[in-house]
């Protein structure tokens, strides 16, 4: 029984890894920028839920409003702009930045029942 | 004398019809929940003024009744009354089933029922609501242990201890439920110390009414003997409890009427031109109080099971109405934000509330869940004594 579980989980992780072997594509700030924002991409892939949860508590409860691990930052940088309409796609739309992975592993994202899914009006691009 | 317990057969057409009927109600309730959660609460009659509507009425009604349904078991184990002993198992079962139904409604009416896990892991120990969650869970555990001790012969000797702790726990539980309102200092309608004891008495009456109905129905439908001694005893007890509820209601309202700051809300409930006054006099007092007492105590109707059944149903209907008045009526009356001043604009007035069908279906579904749980469990486990004829329940009875 356990062996099956291990194999299953192994597959699950492989499929995540496969999906992201290629570098970021699409028309987002992150894909276009040459700057590396995350120190270690595999860490952020694996750990981003923990980072986000930790940061949200610090921001909401303690008023710590740094850019590091802010969800707004993720959305601003990773939302794709439509080439033709020049409008942003929601990060949780099908095949967009968040859902791409999440739909593969069927983990629902709860963030966007409240948070906005595209950069806000005041966002002026990466520093 | 040894009492023999036996499962019901549960193969008759009637049994399946009952299960099917209850199943339909439960499916309807789930449909209603999907509708409300998918769209959001705007499809209900609830609003920012009436934040707790019909689902809470049913949920609290069932939760209150649940603790009362344990009465029969408590009387036998705590007060050592032999007559009630054979019915202890059923009493525990009904109690758990009603609680499950009530909690189901409560959870499914949350804005985010998907976050139930948060409610179970994040506790604010200052919150009476959080304490209630603990009390409800504890009640399940304690009553389950109590039932097991009654079932397991080796454990029988501990069952009265377990019964005592279940009895204590349920008193605390109902006090806790009543205190949900007691902590709302800003709302005039709930500003009464009597709330908690009143809830306890209400629980006695509603729980016993449920128990009587379930007992009589299951014995009738399975053709098992149920003697007059038991029926009359339970009927008398129900009459006493109903009278006690009425007494507490009278004390509460009279007390409030003479307390200047609460006179407004009292007049609104008792003599206002809103639906709550009609509900109070015709529903709660006459339908749910006076008529059942007449049915129970009228000498010509003694040992008459149909009228006792009717009285129990009326007590339950009156109970739902009573909780409706407390919960919805209490919110409809505006808070006194500026004592000595009149609010001309922006807040105030009696808040309107029209329950939607979905809310009612969810509430009824909760009752159905409780009943279907009882139906199945008496089929699979020996909850019911084979006979409750007079010579079984009361060996000294002379007929």
């Amino acid at each position: 029984m356990y062996r099956f579980l291990v194999v299953f989980i192994g597959f699950a992780f492989m499929s995540i890894a496969n999906a992201y072997e290629n570098p970021l594509t699409g028309n987002s700030e992150a894909a276009k920028s040459s700057k590396q924002y995350h120190e270690n991409v595999s860490v952020i892939r694996k750990m981003h839920p923990e980072f986000l949860n930790h940061k949200r508590d610090k921001t909401l409860r303690q008023g710590v409003r740094t850019e590091e691990n802010s969800l707004k930052g993720c959305v601003n940088c990773h939302a794709n702009k439509d080439e033709t309409t020049n409008e942003y796609h929601s990060v949780n739309d099908k095949d967009q930045f968040c859902s791409d992975c999440h739909q593969q592993v069927s983990v629902s994202v709860d963030c966007f029942s409240c948070h906005r899914t595209t950069p806000g009006a005041s966002y002026k691009g990466v520093r | 004398m040894n009492i023999r317990y036996e499962q019901i057969q549960g193969r008759s057409l009637g049994f399946y019809a009952l299960v099917a009927g209850l199943g339909v109600l439960i499916l309807a309730a789930l449909g209603a929940v999907w509708h409300m959660e998918h769209n959001g609460h705007w499809v209900t009659g609830m609003s920012n003024r009436i934040v707790w509507g019909m689902p809470h009425v049913f949920a609290l009604f069932l939760i209150v009744a649940a603790s009362g349904a344990l009465n029969v078991a408590s009387i036998s184990s705590v007060f050592n009354k032999k007559l009630y002993k054979p019915m202890s198992r059923l009493s525990g079962l009904v109690s758990l089933a009603l609680l499950a139904g009530g909690l189901m409604i409560l959870v499914l009416d949350l804005g985010r029922p998907d976050r139930l896990i948060v409610a179970m892991t994040e506790y604010n120990f200052k919150s009476i609501f959080a304490w209630n969650i603990i009390l409800y869970n504890g009640f399940f555990v304690i009553v389950a242990i109590y039932l097991w001790m009654m079932f397991e012969r080796r454990m029988n000797k501990f069952s009265s201890k377990a019964g005592l702790s279940a009895f204590t726990w349920r008193l605390i539980l109902t006090t806790g439920t009543g205190s949900i309102f007691g902590f709302l200092v800003a709302r005039q309608a709930y500003d009464a110390v009597i709330m908690a004891p009143m809830f306890i008495i209400m629980s006695f009456a509603f729980g016993l009414a449920f128990f009587i109905l379930i007992l009589m129905a299951s014995y009738k439908w399975t053709d098992r003997p149920l003697g007059d001694v038991v029926v009359n005893r339970l009927g008398n007890l129900l009459g006493v409890f109903v009278a006690a509820v009425m007494y507490f209601v009278a004390v509460k309202h009279l007390g409030n009427l003479y307390l200047a700051e609460n006179a407004g809300v009292e007049n609104f409930i008792l003599f206002g031109e809103y639906v709550y006054s009609d509900l109070f006099w015709y529903g709660q007092i006459i339908l749910g109080g006076l008529i059942p007492m007449a049915l129970i105590y009228h000498p010509a109707l003694r040992s008459n099971r149909s009228t006792l059944g009717l009285a129990s149903v009326l007590v339950l209907i009156g109970g739902v109405i009573q909780l409706y008045i407390i919960i919805v009526g209490g919110q409809a009356y505006p808070m006194e934000m500026f004592p000595g001043k009149e609010i001309l604009e922006g807040y105030g007035g009696i808040a309107a509330y029209t329950p939607s069908l979905a809310e009612i279906m969810l509430g009824v579904g909760g009752i159905a869940v409780a009943l279907i749980a009882v139906t199945f469990l008496v089929k699979f486990l020996p909850f019911l004594p084979e006979s409750l004829a007079d010579e079984v329940s009361d060996p000294h009875h002379k007929s």
Binding site: R56, L60, R61, Q62, G63, V64, R65, K72, S113, C114, H115, R116, T118, G120, A121, S122, Y123 | E37, N39, G40, H41, W42, V43, M46, S47, N48, V51, W52, L110, G111, R112, P113, R115, L116, V118, A119, E122, Y123, N124, S127, I128, F129, I133, I180, F183, V185, A186, R187, M335, M337, F338, P339, G340, K341, E342, I343, L344, G346, Y347, A351
Partner: protein
């Protein structure tokens, strides 16, 4: 007046000056925080508050405050909710004194109580008070039980009755959770004044640190008569009114 302020505000008058907090007047940002202010957790050395002078506040001012709040946070335009189902963080109230017949208009929002009943009753700790006195709903934990709405004496809270999209970037809001005035915490943390305060171009609404003896709100509170709504409940509200 000093009695209604917290014990702490005079103890720390000597240290307060080091934080380089200048007076905050409505509409103008005068506070200069240290560059790293947002990196450090807020502390209970501050308590944010507001003083509303109903004698100087016109009805148009109040309407402007409501509009500014809506614009900042995006509430009130829910498509399906009707009447009392719509969110309402700040409202205009008109009250008439029964004895004198005097009619007063005032804005009413979450009063940011020091002893907030909404926080006490919340089963999951979703309702919470920051160290600096701002009361918020942590929607990550809110299960939508609405007990806090039952408990709030000011009817200050709203339940989101429907799905929302395209929220304001600084104000996540969503179906099934409870919300209320945040005192524009995202602005306050940046050293700015709340949107409603900024919308009023006079000293009719003063925002600032109640504890800071040099702050305008502290000094004004020492001078003028002010009141808390439902002061009898002893909640020690952060929002104060003069002229009622």
């Amino acid at each position: 007046m000093s009695k209604t302020l917290n014990r702490r505000d005079f103890i720390k008058t000597t240290t307060a000056t080091t934080a380089s907090v200048a007076t905050i007047a409505s509409g103008i940002t005068l506070t200069t925080f240290a560059a790293n202010a947002n990196e450090n957790p807020v502390t209970n050395e501050k308590r944010w508050g507001m003083l509303i002078d109903t004698n100087r506040l016109t009805e148009a001012n109040i309407d402007g405050m409501v509009t500014a709040c809506k614009k900042e946070h995006g509430w009130g335009s829910e498509a399906h909710s009707t009447g009392d189902q719509k969110s309402n963080w700040i409202r205009k109230l008109k009250v008439k004194d029964k004895a004198t017949g005097k009619v007063t208009s005032l804005p009413l929002m979450c009063q940011h109580c020091e002893e907030p009943p909404c926080v006490d009753v919340c089963p999951t700790n979703a309702s919470m008070k920051r160290e600096d006195g701002i009361v918020l709903v942590d929607r990550h934990l809110c299960i939508g039980c609405r007990y806090c709405m039952m408990a709030c004496p000011y009817d200050a809270r709203s339940f989101v009755h429907e799905d929302l999209t395209d929220q304001k970037e600084d104000m996540p809001r969503g179906k099934g959770t409870v919300e209320s005035c945040t005192l524009c915490v995202h602005k306050v943390d940046k050293g700015e004044a709340p949107a409603c305060v900024a919308s009023v171009n006079s000293d009719a609404v003063i925002f600032g640190d109640l504890y800071d003896a040099n702050s305008k709100i502290n000094q004004t509170l020492k001078k003028v008569q002010s009141a808390q709504i439902r002061a009898d409940l002893n909640l020690n509200t952060g929002v104060r009114y003069s002229g009622i």
